[in-house]
Symmetry: C2
Subunit: 185 residues, 2 copies
């Protein structure tokens, strides 16, 4: 398992502020799943909240609705093929953990697992808003625990250690952007 | 004014898919404003929808609520100082268009202006959801027209022409990431 340090909750929004694509992991009973989500964002600072789109057709949707929990995992560039794979196959048909080699470890506050090798993790409890869930596939969550690989994020700042451990931003097809140069104005 | 070409509406989500920070422009009566928003995302493909967080304290909030319209402008790296400035000052106290030199031109379908020099523009009409607007400062919009600088985006793909005309991703303080390398898996 990647080393990880706790991120203070009021700093958790910084893990998503730059708009990375995430992996949404979920579990209920003896089932678990992972999917990719470019459509995610921070929603509040403290207590931290997030928003993410989870399509009705997905197994993730079923597990998130049943458990009321999910984890947003921030994958590294070296996990881009995995990210594409879990974004294009259905957990109803295949065990995505086994086909993509997505190692997983237990979270601290929710039943959904943490995907190994990611750069950061936000453990979330669903804030029930049935109307927007049904109408827009839009789910809101409160972040109840947050973690980061200390080589990539610490003291409220990202500092990617190498090109393969930068966060990624999905475009379309199999195309991504890596998070690029940092600069100050 | 930057050259611009129409982006077909079913491709509009691609302008936001990689998670750039945007400028939200708004207008009502003879007042107009612009603010920065890292917390934005695509919400649907066709008809395209978006989600964006607009704090209660902002003039933008007042103008968006009064007009039912806004534009999401995707700024370039060369506009990062402008982006920071409009993100840290209030339109209640200053005319942000004049202080930051944000040139503006008329949109096609909404009253909010298009900020000159940006890479892309999404003209949006608010999808009224009063409960989530009040509770989470969360606004949903339907994209009714979309535009891009053809040097930066065409045929459904970003192709930034130089380092200063890449999209940007806000971190905190005055720190941003540029959108980085594109790669395929």
């Amino acid at each position: 398992m990647t080393a990880r340090i706790a991120v203070p909750l009021p700093k958790a929004y910084l893990l998503l502020n730059h708009g990375p694509t995430v992996l949404v992991s979920s579990a209920h009973g003896n089932r678990r799943n992972v999917m990719a989500a470019a459509w995610n964002m921070a929603l509040d600072f403290d207590p931290p909240k997030v928003a993410v789109v989870i399509d009705k057709a997905t197994l993730t949707r079923e597990l998130v609705e049943a458990s009321g929990e999910f984890v947003l995992n921030v994958p590294a560039r070296q996990q881009a093929a995995l990210t594409l794979a879990v974004g294009t196959q259905s957990g109803r048909e295949v065990d995505k953990f086994s086909i993509v080699g997505a190692g997983a470890t237990a979270a601290s506050a929710v039943g959904a697992p943490l995907i190994e090798g990611c750069l950061a993790w936000l453990e979330c409890r669903v804030i029930a808003e049935p109307h927007i869930e049904k109408t827009y596939d839009l789910f809101l969550g409160q972040v109840v625990a947050a973690w980061a690989d200390p080589e990539a994020f610490s003291n409220g700042r990202w500092h990617f250690p190498d090109e393969q451990r930068r966060s990624i931003h999905y475009q379309a097809g199999g195309n991504f952007f890596a998070t690029g140069d940092t600069f100050e104005v």
